[in-house]
């Protein structure tokens, strides 16, 4: 009976997992608010109408967008929100707007000119921001860039990945992450953006070399995902990295 249940679960998982044609959450968001490019809209709408997975994701996205606490949730939501607000206010280390420029009434172009005379540092930061968020092309998934100032995620069930992440000049030779003291081994997986597996392996170290056959499939401009799961001596999963994205620059 238990074996049959396990078989059933495996098959259902396969049937209900995202397929190559499934939309990403960002695409579904664009579909829902009408901002998706027209050719992509037609293709995705056809797919979503017959796909239980995409319909479920779309429902969840709408629920999230409209999420408001129900009466029995209000106190807890207020309490958590207040704690988060304190947490992120205390972490504030950036400049106040007044240190950059005053003059909200200026037209957009004039304000940008005012920014330019505000100093080289701000201009450089502006350029960096423009490059980071405005000048990228295509609709590849968001890419994480390693940051020396990045805050540490404190949750105990996480693994901090080191590389690869974001845009790379060449295919990575290995996957690296920070070791965990409670891990006896690690299971790693490299995936397409639709979560189709390219390669997986087990290791006892906090890094693993990518075989040449896998590296050959990492082509410029194509985003890929990877994930590492830490396991204890009994083989039980104890921590996850979440999916990390990277690609080779075109």
């Amino acid at each position: 009976m238990a074996e049959a249940r396990s078989r059933e679960r495996l098959l259902l998982r396969k049937a209900l997992s995202p397929s190559y044609a499934c939309a990403t959450p960002l695409e579904l968001g664009g579909l829902a608010d009408g901002s998706l490019a027209r050719p992509a809209t037609a293709r995705l709408r056809d797919h979503v109408s017959g796909c239980a997975r995409c319909q479920t994701e779309l429902t969840l996205l709408k629920e999230f967008d409209n999420a408001a606490p129900r009466p029995d949730e209000e106190r807890a939501v207020s309490w958590i929100s207040a704690r988060l607000e304190r947490r992120f206010s205390e972490a504030s280390a950036g400049p106040s707007p007044s240190r950059i420029h005053h003059g909200a009434a200026l037209p957009r172009r004039s304000r940008f000119m005012a920014l330019n005379v505000g100093g080289f540092a701000v201009a450089a930061a502006t350029l960096a921001a423009a490059v980071a968020i405005g000048l990228r092309e295509g609709r590849a998934p968001e890419l994480a860039q390693p940051s020396a100032t990045a805050p540490t995620v404190l949750r105990s069930a996480g693994i901090t990945t080191l590389s690869p992440a974001g845009d790379l000049d060449a295919p990575p030779n290995e996957l690296r992450w920070e070791p965990r003291t409670d891990a006896a081994s690690y299971s790693v997986q490299v995936m397409e953006v639709d979560y189709a597996e390219l390669w997986s392996a087990e290791t006892h170290d906090a890094s693993i070399a990518l075989p040449p056959a896998v590296r050959a499939r990492i082509v410029p401009g194509k985003p890929l995902l990877w994930e590492v799961v830490a396991k204890d001596a009994a083989g039980r999963a104890v921590a996850w990295s979440g999916k990390q994205r990277f690609r080779i620059k075109t």
């Binding site: 606490p69 309490w79 420029h101 701000v122 921001a129």
Partner: protein
């Protein structure tokens, strides 16, 4: 308070709204989400900033509500939501402005919540055992036989699509596709019937079992 924010590359790549008064919060509230992201990054993007605080403030309620529904516990929901916002802060430089900030936050929230649920998968198994007790015990009626006979994932998808209602499909997808516990599905989908997602799952499985019986009858007729 604006929650959605403007979209598009122009507002995101040109941090024109850096020219905002700090004397009151009114101007901050007038900025789109994308402008807040742009200003935060233009100011260096490290630590926190008044723009980041405003951006997060706009989205605390939806992220926290979602995390509470996933975790079902105030303390754990707090840790989960904190992880979402820390991750958002860390990856903000990768936000390209071609989706709403709330959609981008949803993708992070979804990923963090699924990781959290996976870390509690042993509890999910206990719940499944409870469910199994409630199901018919005739092994011939179990839907896996449908899939064995059809022997393909494609056939399974077609059968689910044909036999189940939209809500049953959603419950099935979340429970079997993502290992989301039934109580969490009940909260996430706002199901108000007495037994929540469990009722949909039991109903769906009975439908699949009946489909199996029909299929067998056809096979016998064709034999």
């Amino acid at each position: 308070m604006p929650a959605g924010g403007a979209r598009g590359h122009q507002s995101c790549s040109t941090p024109a709204s850096l020219a905002v008064s700090s004397s009151d919060g009114g101007d901050l509230e007038a900025l789109s989400d994308a402008d807040l992201v742009s200003n935060h990054l233009a100011a260096g993007g490290g630590g926190g900033s008044i723009w980041l605080q405003e951006l997060f403030r706009r989205h605390y309620t939806k992220v926290v509500t979602w995390c509470l529904r996933v975790a079902g516990d105030r303390e754990e929901a707090h840790d989960l939501a904190q992880g979402v916002f820390l991750k958002a802060q860390r990856h903000l430089g990768a936000f390209r402005g071609d989706s709403k900030v709330s959609t981008w936050l949803y993708s992070i929230t979804r990923s963090e919540c699924l990781n959290y649920l996976r870390s509690r998968s042993s509890l999910n198994d206990a719940l499944d055992d409870d469910l199994a007790e409630a199901l018919p015990d005739d092994p011939e009626s179990r839907p896996e036989h449908v899939f064995e006979f059809r022997s393909s994932v494609q056939a399974a998808r077609a059968l689910l699509d044909r036999e189940l209602t939209d809500m049953e499909k959603r419950v099935f997808t979340l429970h079997y596709g993502d290992d989301v516990p039934l109580l969490t599905i009940t909260r996430l989908l706002g199901l108000e019937n007495p037994s929540g997602a469990k009722a949909y799952l039991v109903s769906a499985r009975r439908k699949l079992a009946r489909a199996l019986q029909r299929w067998r009858a056809c096979e016998r007729l064709n034999a």
